[in-house]
Symmetry: C2
Subunit: 455 residues, 2 copies
């Protein structure tokens, strides 16, 4: 359907950048500041209650880097704005990303202060991409990391993304669906995510469907006959238990036609209590095979509660809490200059100091294969452990085909399995200590020397 | 640049919908359920601390309704999925929105349970658009309403949207910029919002710019000479007060070249204290005309605090807290079937009951022109007050040209001026009562009769 099918997004408008990126570019061009810059993207601090993150969004970022250019339409608009010199506009007309990129593969577990992206490119190239590089990595990392919490809450439950309507724009719904599946969801209701990413699709019916029929039994019966393989019936429009009786009656009627109702969905009320009553009625009616799904503003804590209580719930539709990461809708992240023209840089702003230089992250495992600790080191050092940042783009060209969702999901599964148990808690108030990210001796020494030179 | 220039978004992929919309459509088509449906979009409950909302997103929704159709690419994908009958796919190939739409104009102040959109169309048309109708109205309403809180916090301050990088996808950054300006911001750093919506653009420089130079004075001097009309210098990369001294020195040097530095920006540290010290240094150095801007994770409460404390801050760059509506990243909203084939519908699910029928919202003013109360009534009633839902689309065609941002801003200004003072508080814990939305006698009677029939 498109060249970068896995990316899913239409080409991003090159004017989707900050004004200051373009004004800085004019200053760089006019002063010949086009030597190699190294920028890294990292999360400064995890939100309260989050103990790990999952890297995501690289696929869309690489597609953006390969495709980004200014067409005459945008150049004309910039020209008409009167803000830019002809010399600058000529350079923008030729702008292409020709740099190198190293990154943690999507689905990698990572922690605060660890770069998941390192861009090495002429300064005007590495600079311009800042807002969209942050934007694309931030959002899917946020949502994939949130999705993993739902998976930890319900290891065996069916988890389906229902969040398109509450996502922040249609594109956010699409990428949230991708990130949800990366983070451990079984699928999504968003059809475009099926087309773009081969995400498994799930759907039920809306209250409006039942209401338009008026007669709930007739509504159920017609839907099941039209979709004999996929009938999931919504039972809370009027009276959940009365609707369950209708489902039992219908199931027997349909059995003679060879049609099996797959599941019922409860979207409101006391889901623990209702799921038990519905399950009991279904079982008593000989409908042991019909599964019970629930939805309605669910977060991972509620789901963990149902699982702990042993509520007979087979699956969960999750919308707002996932697609908006509603408890923490952003990460404190940054894309920072670490080196320019061979000179390491360090930001020292209060509360926002960074580690200088081109860095690598090394991960050590315990004897039993769990994550033991990470070391934040200079790229030039040799350190024990696995190097997590891998080359993914050289001179503006991708080095590998797009990863399949399955490959990314496997990486997530492996990572979560190797996560120390203390990092798998959902609650913010448990006193488990965080994961250790050590700073190498050489990196500390470099930071001190950068500070000394600046003073 | 495009037919619906004010819309800003590229055409939305028709597969950006929930799977159940398409499966319901197949059930509707196969049973001939294509009579007129009326759906309304409303917010069920305002988030804690929010006392009013501003309607936004209608422009993008109307463009979506006019443009939405399935191309052969999408139809082929649906065909290949094996989920849909040929008869259903034929109908989807011809799908166009041919309905009527009434809405509150963008920028209208509204309250819980008041529809801001009423769609009247054959059921399969009104149904399919559900997720994107919610998505587009929800997001900009959320952000415009948040933006208004910043404006209430700083009535006279310059407010600029810096949020592209933390918005949930690039499109969210674009539409957040639009919503910010609707809600009272002076402008945005997002260039595409200037091109798409004529939003005023503002920009400064990044820490990376200063760091790449290494020499802060040289970095300032070069930038001001390259952008003599728009030099806003970032002064917190190393030492804010030392940088201020450099700005004063540079201002005198540049004065001889006819260049005036417009402002400085402080992005970290104790902004109240720093702004006073920076202001004092600038004034002592004869730079009274240089303005002081601040940024760095600001929310409306912090800004209200600086204003109350009399900090000498002229403007605020706001990112994450605005573009993610970080304290409340979603609204509890719905798009609900209110009538089908002339029969009023009412959802009675626990905690989610709705008012049935085609409705209108009437607003009454006090003698001094403030909002007094609203009445939620049936469209067929005659009620005192101004009717807030106005026809905007008939038989799938827009009735009016796109509104200018200025017209929408004027409506917001008028609305905020008429808002009772008790509704303008930013704090969640003040005990001001909410605004009264009365339910008309006829609407209550209709709800009761719908309930009786369902029992």
């Amino acid at each position: 359907m498109k060249e970068h099918r896995a990316a899913g997004l239409e080409q991003v408008n090159p004017l989707l950048t900050d004004l200051y990126q373009l004004t800085m570019l004019q200053a760089y061009y006019s002063s010949g500041m086009e030597e190699t810059a190294v920028f890294e993207f990292f999360v400064r601090k995890l939100p309260a209650g989050r103990r790990f993150l999952l890297a995501a969004g690289l696929e869309q970022l690489l597609a953006y880097l390969q495709e980004l250019q200014f067409t005459e339409t945008e150049l004309q608009w910039l020209r008409d704005s009167g803000r830019f010199s002809d010399a600058c506009l000529e350079r923008l007309a030729d702008w292409r990303f020709s740099g190198d990129v190293a990154a943690m593969p999507e689905g990698s577990v990572f922690f605060a202060n660890e770069p998941i992206l390192r861009v090495t490119a002429p300064l005007p190239e590495a600079q311009l991409i800042e807002p969209i590089a942050i934007n694309l990595l931030h959002f899917q990392t946020l949502i994939a990391s949130k999705a993993a919490r739902f998976r930890l809450a319900a290891p065996d439950g069916l988890l389906v993304d229902f969040g398109l309507r509450r996502a922040h724009t249609p594109d956010a719904g699409l990428l949230a669906a991708r990130a949800a599946v990366i983070g451990g969801f079984d699928g999504t209701a968003t059809v475009a995510a099926g087309a773009a990413f081969d995400a498994a699709l799930y759907g039920t019916m809306a209250h409006s469907y039942i209401q338009a029929w008026g007669d709930e039994y007739a509504a159920f019966a017609h839907f099941a006959r039209v979709h004999p393989d996929n009938a999931v019936l919504l039972i809370d429009t009027y009276d959940t238990l009365a609707a369950t009786d209708k489902v039992v009656r219908l199931a027997h009627e349909l059995q003679q036609e060879g049609i099996a109702i797959r599941a019922v969905r409860i979207d409101s009320g006391d889901l623990d209590n209702l799921s038990r009553q519905v399950r009991a009625k279904l079982d008593a009616g000989g409908c042991q095979a019909i599964r019970v799904l629930v939805s309605g503003g669910l977060d991972e804590h509620e789901i963990a509660g149902y699982v702990a209580a042993g509520a007979p719930i087979d699956g969960y539709g999750v919308g707002t809490q996932l697609d908006c990461s509603a408890d923490h809708p952003y990460l404190d992240c940054a894309y920072k200059l670490q080196e320019y023209a061979g000179r390491p840089c360090r930001k020292r702003s209060t509360g926002k100091a960074t580690w200088p230089g081109r860095k690598q992250v090394y991960r050590n495992l315990t004897d039993s294969g769990l994550f033991d600790d990470d070391v934040l080191a200079l790229e030039s050092e040799s350190q024990a452990g696995k190097a997590l940042l891998q080359p993914v783009m050289r001179q503006g060209q991708r080095l590998h085909d797009s990863e399949t969702t399955e490959a990314i999901q496997q990486r997530v599964g492996d990572g979560l399995a190797r996560l120390p148990a203390s990092l798998r808690h959902l609650q913010a108030d448990t006193d488990a200590s965080g994961y250790e990210v050590r700073i190498s001796e050489e990196l500390r020494a470099l930071a001190e020397s950068v500070d000394r030179e600046a003073d």
